[in-house]
């Protein structure tokens, strides 16, 4: 492990990679701070740029953007009560009341330290868990991979944020359907191309990610065209108070940080659960553990209530990298986008990544840790200045984001057909979002669809076209049973809840 860490450090310590790390953290914080824009949008926006880079540098930048955007989201939650994404919602419960008391700086410092501890613990646990999981996954063959991907997709639907399991499953199926567009690799038959040459190679992942997240989000905010709030104007003046923590603060939140880190990591590793569930769970755990006066403070500016979700969502972000790097299965919307980027860069995530491209694996791990350090050392003192961007009027910001999306897709292919396709898809995605359909399962279905089909066909080829491997191979059967369990779980939970209310 130490040898791996040294390899990672050596890989990262190039001026270009270090520069990208700092730039990614700052850019991520900036994008994440914009109300409505979260890590998924930040990462999607940068994909066209990273596709021009070497794989290791691209991953360093994406990891930095991911962490930066999470930190930026917390900043907007604390300063203006506008969480960039769902995992930052619990941060507003106590962060915003603290800011209103004039302790915005202290709240932001608690967030930054929480994120740092969460990220550090998650990185250590990732280093411990990933090699073991990768070694086990090396025994997997095509049938096991197919079953694993089925499990990933069903678990994501079952643990979906909004609770709409049927909607999430429908979006997964839509993603799988979109993945079948293009020329079939095995038989050379064109599927659902309607004779259009531009989609003979299938839909581009960048295009779908932009349409589903960045562009539909930008259209939505352009349609709302909200005026800047008084809080945003105040925050933009850089009036956040002291950024220092007292000894009492540290004593109060240290146990919370450790508990939330471990909980967040475990929840993050589970496919589909992700940062939002981790943040809400750790907030609930801390409130239940608190007694008397401390418990009453929750919701009114409790330091523990602020630190717990902040630590947990960062630890979950680290945890989500475990299945991504070792199994090639993304655990969240953001990691699905990162997986797509990896595949586009020609890197196949999975257990072989750890054995065959260990330098890249360790570079990513070390960059995650250093990214958290940079957030604490560079971003935190810069917050009063970065917060000034909150005052950029919506009428300037929305066209800029729309422009970045259009340019991003155009620069990948220099084909105006792709622009039309993205606009069409974004309008469909916008409609689906307004009807409360989650976008992450769509992208997961799309990314995993191709891999799933590939593995299923390979398994069928080896087994002479027989489906018996689904129940004859123990690991495959176990994984498929778990998938079935994931589908049944929401139904069982609903029945139990109904019985309780009766």
């Amino acid at each position: 492990m130490i040898e791996g860490l040294m390899t990672g450090l050596a890989g990262l310590m190039t001026p270009v990679n270090l520069g990208l790390l700092v730039l990614g953290c700052l850019l991520g914080t900036f994008i994440g701070m914009m109300p409505g824009l979260g890590p998924v949008t930040a990462v999607s926006l940068l994909i066209p740029v990273v596709l021009q880079m070497p794989a290791a540098s691209a991953m360093v930048l994406l990891a930095a953007i991911y962490y930066g955007a999470m930190f930026g989201g917390s900043t907007a939650s604390v300063l203006i009560n506008a969480p960039g994404e769902s995992s930052s919602v619990p941060t507003t419960f106590d962060g915003y009341p603290m800011a209103r008391r004039g302790e915005a700086g202290r709240a932001l410092a608690l967030c930054a330290w929480g994120s740092f501890v969460g990220g550090t613990v998650a990185t250590i646990l990732l280093m411990a868990a990933a090699p073991t999981l990768a070694a086990f996954a090396l025994t997997f063959h095509a049938p096991e991979y197919f079953a694993l991907m089925v499990l990933g997709l069903t678990a994501v639907a079952a643990f979906t944020d909004s609770g709409g399991v049927v909607k999430a499953l429908l979006m997964t199926v839509l993603g799988l359907m979109l993945a079948t567009i293009g020329t079939d690799v095995a038989d050379g038959v064109e599927r659902y191309t309607f004779g259009i040459a531009d989609i003979a190679d299938g839909l581009s992942f960048v295009l779908l990610a932009m349409a589903a997240f960045a562009l539909s989000e930008a259209i939505l905010s352009a349609l709302k065209n909200e005026k800047i709030s008084e809080e945003a104007k105040k925050a933009a003046r850089g009036d956040v108070g002291t950024l220092k923590l007292t000894r009492d603060d540290v004593k109060e939140v240290a146990p919370t940080m450790l508990r939330a880190s471990v909980l967040g990591f475990i929840v993050g590793v589970l496919p589909g659960a992700g940062a939002t569930i981790a943040a809400f769970m750790s907030y609930a755990v801390e409130r239940n553990l608190a007694t008397g006066q401390r418990r009453e403070e929750f919701g009114k500016g409790s330091r523990r209530g602020l630190t717990a979700p902040e630590t947990a969502n960062n630890a979950a972000a680290g945890g989500a990298y475990v299945p991504l790097l070792t199994l090639g299965i993304p655990g969240s919307g953001t990691t699905a986008v990162i997986l797509g980027a990896l595949i586009a860069l020609g890197v196949q995530p999975g257990p072989r990544l750890y054995t065959d491209q260990s330098e890249m694996f360790w570079t990513v791990v070390v960059s995650m840790y250093l990214g958290n350090l940079i957030l604490l050392v560079i971003n935190l003192p810069l917050i009063p200045y970065i917060a000034r961007t909150l005052a950029i009027p919506e009428q300037i910001l929305s066209p800029l984001i729309l422009f970045f999306c259009l340019v991003g897709v155009y620069l990948v292919s220099f084909n105006s057909f792709d622009l039309w396709l993205m606009i069409g898809l974004a309008i469909v995605c916008l409609g689906l979002r307004l009807l409360d359909y989650p976008m992450a399962p769509l992208l997961l279905g799309f990314v995993l669809g191709k891999l799933m089909e590939e593995n299923l066909r390979r398994a069928l080829l080896v087994n002479d076209g027989s489906f018996a491997f689904l129940w004859e191979r123990p690991v495959t059967a176990l994984l498929l049973s778990l998938s079935f369990g994931c589908l049944l779980l929401p139904v069982v939970l609903r029945l139990v809840r109904q019985k309780k209310t009766v």
Binding site: P399, F403, Y410, L419, W420
Partner: protein, 68 residues
């Protein structure tokens, strides 16, 4: 956005981008001429410079052909 897709081939990257941005700002209610011109043209030209430095040749459309 549709107009951007229509205009990018004939008008080229820089002109289309500047027009798209200025149009977008106007539609959403920005009326200060200096802001419209500086941000719109500034971002479009800034992107062109950045990509030219990265060795990515962006098309100038009819303007490029007229100049050459």
């Amino acid at each position: 956005m549709g107009l951007f897709a229509l205009a990018i081939n004939p008008l080229g990257f820089v002109v289309t981008s500047a027009l798209f941005l200025i149009g977008g700002f106007l539609v959403l209610g920005e009326r200060r001429p200096l802001v419209l011109a500086c941000v719109g043209i500034g971002v479009a030209v800034g992107f062109w410079i950045m990509f030219t430095l990265l060795d990515v040749q962006l098309d100038w459309g009819i303007f490029g052909r007229a100049l050459s």
